[in-house]
């Protein structure tokens, strides 16, 4: 029998490459929102079980990221933002990334179900299938609304945390879901406004590519007008307290101001030919008129973190008082 494997077919992927498959930066946001959901829910869950639950949610989210990278290797290689990813750069094989994602998905869902309850486990499984299957395979290349519908995947972690702590997903948990769900379009489209060229090259119909920058700026403003009142809502329904209310109103005003300024700007408009000639822009080298888009993108991350941090701080403070 002749074994045809050659030394060149043996991978040189490092453990760090597999860690990068988990999208650690996205994972940190997932951990943060899941912890908030778990703590705010105020269920009867021990700290050790809570820690295992958070680990499972983080690994499950990472597994979805690995599946996404395995499925999108060729597309990622076409975009500056993603071409350094392990599969796109050729450091990890597509099949290896796929196996890694599937194994981590199964283990994280099973362990979360065993450690807490099967509602939480089921929601984690749904999130992974939604992101890797529904969003990556079906939505992303078919509709400019990809990020609107696909944004649900990123909104599930606080609900999973809530379900892990209480065994149920109450309307407050879905309010947290709604906040992230409505936050995603203005956040993602602000980024897309200054990297639309990349998306066009990769054939992804992001809103600025499919409908143009002007329409995208208007939609960002409209989504922001819906998002900010929803972000303030927990402060009026008893889920959040005075700190949350102050943070959500002040930050919401800032968010709306930046969205309005973006709407009035020329961010994402095609550059003049003379200006574009001979200019290979670096990844975050934003043209002056696109700065309002970058400002909103950066502020949106800060605002979401501040909202969940306020909820977390208030819950922990009241727990310490008891």
């Amino acid at each position: 029998m002749n074994r045809t494997a050659s030394p060149t077919s043996i991978s040189t992927a490092q453990p760090e490459d597999f860690f990068q498959l988990l999208k650690p930066r996205v994972m940190s946001l997932v951990i943060f929102t899941a912890v908030t959901g778990l703590v705010v829910a105020d269920g009867e869950i021990g700290w050790l079980t809570a820690a295992i639950a958070i680990l499972c949610i983080a690994v499950g989210a990472g597994a979805a990221g690995a599946l996404n990278m395995a499925l999108e290797g060729e597309t990622d290689a076409l975009m500056r933002r993603t071409r350094g990813r392990p599969v796109a750069a050729g450091r990890v094989g597509k099949n290896d990334a796929m196996s890694f994602g599937v194994i981590l998905s199964v283990f994280s869902v099973m362990l979360l179900g065993m450690a807490t309850n099967w509602l939480a486990g089921g929601l984690l499984a749904l999130t992974i299938a939604y992101y890797a299957g529904f969003y990556t395979l079906l939505l992303k290349r078919r509709t400019p609304q990809n990020i609107v519908i696909g944004g649900a995947a990123g909104a599930f972690p606080p609900v999973i945390g809530w379900a892990a702590a209480t065994g149920a997903a109450s309307w407050q948990a879905w309010l947290l879901f709604l906040i992230i769900f409505l936050w995603t379009p203005p956040h993602s489209w602000a980024l897309a406004l200054y990297s639309a060229g990349d998306y066009a090259k990769a054939g992804i119909p992001m809103m600025p590519v499919a409908r143009g920058a002007k329409s995208t700026r208007l939609q960002i403003l409209l989504y922001s007008l819906v998002f900010v009142p929803v972000a303030v809502a927990p402060g009026l329904t008893g889920l959040g307290g005075a700190i949350y209310l102050a943070v959500s109103i002040a930050g919401g005003a800032g968010f709306l101001f930046l969205a309005f300024r973006l709407w009035r700007s020329r961010a994402g408009d095609q550059p003049d030919k003379a200006e574009a000639v001979g200019r290979e822009a670096a990844l975050y080298d934003v043209r002056a008129e696109a700065k309002p888009a970058r400002n909103l993108f950066a502020f949106s991350i800060l605002y979401l973190m501040a909202l969940f941090a306020a909820l977390l701080v208030e819950s922990m403070t009241s727990m310490m008082r008891l």
């Binding site: 074994r3 494997a5 050659s6 030394p7 043996i10 991978s11 040189t12 992927a13 490092q14 453990p15 597999f18 021990g46 050790l48 079980t49 295992i52 680990l55 283990f107 362990l111 065993m114 450690a115």
Partner: protein, 58 residues
């Protein structure tokens, strides 16, 4: 088939990482099992105590 030193080193690192991950997984499953068993025992104790109180009251 002879592997290059780079391939050997990468494979060794991957194997070590995999071994570490497996150990963590085993510890997590063990911990979860113990926590679940402890929870069930506590529930039974509570139920037995409630039964005794109910019996004494009647």
């Amino acid at each position: 088939m002879r592997l290059t030193p780079e391939q050997l080193s990468a494979r060794k690192k991957r194997n070590l990482a995999l071994a570490g991950a497996l150990i963590v997984f085993i510890v997590l499953v063990f911990t979860t099992t113990v926590l679940k068993m402890k929870g069930n025992l506590d529930d039974r104790k509570e139920a037995a105590t409630a039964g005794q109180i109910a019996g004494a009251a009647s």
